[in-house]
């Protein structure tokens, strides 16, 4: 079995008592990762909820990575890539966009709200945009509440734990 989860295994499942949402952020090394670096070196302050995973290109982000993040306890997944026309590999960010649009429909169908999965174009110069996007996403995720708890209650049908259901007798 391939281990797409290995990078994410440190993301502990969210317990009911924790209120801080966890975001797994996949940042393209050429733009958004540089922007996050810039935000850091500029001493910008923003919510500490994102765990950043650097990838070579937003086009490298397999939809499996996004699902693995959610399955391992993330409340939100953020992808940061180069602006349209700026991809270091010409087409990668467009492929990311195509996949993200279709993936969003699948996620919504299984009860993962649109605000939990976000794609942003952030160039290496836009350190402040990283701050704004992460702060905004944290706000929205707090409003939505923890994903895992939500799925346990609302999507019992999809959760691996068996929930005994009251039988209705004749």
């Amino acid at each position: 079995m391939p281990d797409v989860n290995s990078n994410l295994s440190q993301v502990a499942p969210l317990g009911a008592e924790e209120l801080e949402p966890k975001i797994v952020a996949f940042f393209c090394t050429w733009c958004t990762y540089m922007a996050a670096d810039l935000a850091g070196t500029s001493r910008m302050k923003y919510a500490p909820n994102a765990r950043v995973i650097r990838v070579m290109c937003s086009g490298r982000i397999d939809p499996q990575f996004v699902l693995a993040a959610f399955a391992n306890g993330a409340d939100g997944v953020l992808i940061g890539g180069c602006h349209p026309g700026d991809c270091h590999y010409q087409e990668g960010n467009y492929n990311c966009l195509r996949r993200a649009r279709l993936l969003k429909r699948v996620l919504e169908e299984v009860g993962i709200e649109a605000d939990r999965f976000r794609l942003e174009w952030i160039s290496a110069a836009e350190g402040d945009r990283v701050r704004v996007v992460i702060n905004d996403m944290v706000e929205k995720l707090k409003a939505l509440g923890p994903l895992r708890m939500k799925r346990e209650t609302m999507l019992r049908g999809l959760h691996p734990q068996e929930h005994p259901v009251q039988e209705v007798c004749v």
């Binding site: 079995m1 391939p2 797409v4 989860n5 397999d62 939809p63 499996q64 996004v66 699902l67 693995a68 959610f70 399955a71 391992n72 349209p84 467009y94 492929n95 966009l97 195509r98 996949r99 649009r101 279709l102 993936l103 429909r105 699948v106 169908e109 299984v110 019992r156 049908g157 999809l158 959760h159 691996p160 068996e162 929930h163 259901v165 039988e167 209705v168 007798c169 004749v170």
Partner: protein, 319 residues
């Protein structure tokens, strides 16, 4: 003589019966199987009861081929019983392997399923709103039914599984190869799917017609176009799951001019077949504009039912 033959068993859980049919489809080759083994339990064909299995020694069955997903308490009990009695437990067919078509029921709650089936279907008359219960009785004795759990599970989400035979249903040649593998001395690694690891495209008869780059302005359903019988189905805009589906079947659906629906599950090194298929299909969209991309993707009416048709319970979405 017969006592020295290895014992095997077949059982079905939440499935359509097609996997049982697939065993019969072995035709005369089933005689070779019967010559090589003793079939000790096969409810669809032989009159042995659960009691008979309970009386067997633990581990006395060489291999049990179990098809169907797990939805009821009875299925779970049988899976546990057969696991205990068998050296090897083989998940046979898509439902047992990944949850299969019955697994799509996990998109709905247990309550909504019962309501639809027992109250809302046009042919149902149920004015007292009676639902099946696990126990009922009116003084003339007690009746019991298995309970209906809140979701569908693949076999390996209930008990430990040694091998998987994929397909909806598994093809005769895959079955005979799997049986030969299990009876031969060299067992593959535990947890193996007993078909090749590559994607179906590698053995597709139309692979030479697959263009280097496919760019599509809309996706088509098979009834919407006249399908060219020689060209790559993806290139014709059909949603063919070949790129994200395991090889081994030699593409009979495509030979019948229909796209692959993905019944054999993910190729090796892929954890989630639906996500991989979604990824492959989305990247074919011929547009760089978000709105136009959405318009092209709108020609896929049911993404979960398309990409996760056989694998929802076993997928990452089920976590």
């Amino acid at each position: 003589m017969t006592q020295t033959k290895p014992k095997i068993a077949f059982y079905w859980c939440a499935s359509c019966g097609g996997c049982e049919e697939a065993v019969v489809d072995l035709a005369e080759e089933i005689l070779d199987v019967v010559a090589a083994v003793d079939i000790v339990f096969w409810p669809v064909a032989l009159d042995f009861k659960r009691r008979d299995v309970e009386q067997m020694a633990d581990g006395s069955i060489l291999a049990t081929f179990l098809n169907g997903a797990i939805r009821t308490s009875e299925q779970e009990e049988m899976a546990n019983l057969l696991r205990r009695k068998s050296k090897l437990l083989v998940a046979f067919g898509s439902c047992s392997h990944l949850g299969g078509i019955p697994g799509l029921a996990n998109l709905f709650t247990r309550e909504s399923i019962l309501e639809t089936v027992y109250f809302e279907t046009p042919t149902t008359q149920n004015p007292n709103r009676v639902l099946p219960g696990t126990q009922s009785g009116n003084g003339n004795g007690e009746l019991t039914l298995p309970s209906f759990s809140s979701r569908v599970r693949a076999l390996d989400q209930v008990v430990e599984v040694d091998y998987y035979v994929p397909g909806c249903p598994p093809l005769p040649k895959i079955i005979t190869r799997a049986v030969a593998t299990l009876l031969g001395g060299h067992l593959p690694d535990k947890g193996s799917v007993l078909t090749p690891e590559e994607a179906l495209c590698t053995e597709c008869p139309r692979k030479d017609s697959k263009p280097e780059k496919i760019a599509l302005k809309s996706f088509k359903r098979p009834q919407e176009i006249l399908i060219d019988e020689t060209q790559c189905l993806l290139a014709q805009g059909l949603l063919c799951m070949g790129p994200a589906t395991r090889a081994g079947c030699e593409a009979p659906c495509i030979q019948g001019n229909m796209p692959c629906t993905g019944c054999c599950g993910a190729p090796g090194r892929v954890r989630d077949q639906g996500a991989k298929a979604l990824s492959a299909i989305a990247s074919l969209v011929d547009s760089r504009d978000e709105q136009e991309i959405d318009a092209v993707l709108a020609s896929i009416p049911d993404p979960v039912g398309t990409f996760y048709r056989y694998s929802l319970p076993g997928s990452l979405l089920a976590h």
